[in-house]
């Protein structure tokens, strides 16, 4: 009998962690590189430049360039200045709370917005349709209207929750 990982080397541990970050973001539908890159920066005690990242993750510079800007938009990483080097250096934002609020929540909110406006459009179209008696029985239309209302109501409840200051408190 032998122990599974009796003594992992530091680079091995790091690689594992980065890989884990990648598959996590991948499982959430964001790309793999996003997570790998954030993990890499998160474990790095010093800021890294684009080519560092290219080297560490062996991905194209194009990917790094676009992904780093995505992470920046989410305030998950920030650009930092390094003495006497014109390269751009990046470090991870360690305040997850800020990342979540500024990045994830606003993204979700945006998607829910477009969904909501489509519900509204459907509802008002339907209201017009109902005026003229189009094919559908009156009872059926009533059911549908009631459901659209229900959906609208739920939608705004969620929207409210996502911008509820109480949520910030819980985090």
């Amino acid at each position: 009998m032998h122990k599974d990982s009796p003594s992992a080397t530091w680079p091995a541990v790091r690689r594992k962690f980065i890989e884990a970050g990648g598959s996590t973001t991948q499982s959430f539908g964001l790309g793999r590189i996003l997570g790998q890159m954030y993990a890499l920066l998160y474990l790095s005690p010093t800021p890294l430049c684009l080519d560092d990242i290219v080297r560490e993750l062996s991905v194209s510079k194009a990917s790094v360039s676009t992904t780093v800007r995505q992470l920046e938009r989410w305030s998950a990483v920030k650009r930092v200045w390094v003495q006497g080097d014109r390269k751009d250096y990046y470090e991870a934002e360690t305040d997850f709370h800020a990342v979540l609020r500024h990045g994830l929540l606003t993204t979700v909110r945006k998607k829910l917005d477009t969904a909501g406006s489509q519900i509204n459009r459907a509802e008002s179209s339907l209201r017009e349709t109902r005026a003229r008696g189009n094919g559908k029985s009156h009872d059926d239309l009533a059911v549908v209207m009631q459901r659209l209302d229900h959906a609208k109501q739920f939608h705004s409840k969620i929207q409210g929750l996502l911008s509820n200051p109480l949520l910030d408190h819980l985090l």
Copy 2:
């Protein structure tokens, strides 16, 4: 000048709504059919069988079969019995609260779980590594350890939040 949609027909309104559902779920990384199917059932005053859905969405029966089971697992639809028909009929669960809790939250929780266990594994590996002095400066290792701890802490905070009864209250 003319009004944009002065009088949409009922089938047109419905198609729009279904399409909207599809693109919403798609934008969240779940397939397109999932949303279309739920939207269809949600607007239907009566339960539908698999072939109804195949006809309405013009998708393969295979897709309908697998997707309906996914929706069922999330308790987003439920199977209902129809007098003297051996086909399976389905209707939408209109209690979004239940769907969210039973479907979405458990899914997210599961993904966070695997992420969390990977953080833990990394941390304990690193603890071992630190015992022997492997390459890295002691200060750097300290920073990394501190960050892994920080991540672990945040992770459990989120896990807690997701199973917080207070969350149910807010919904």
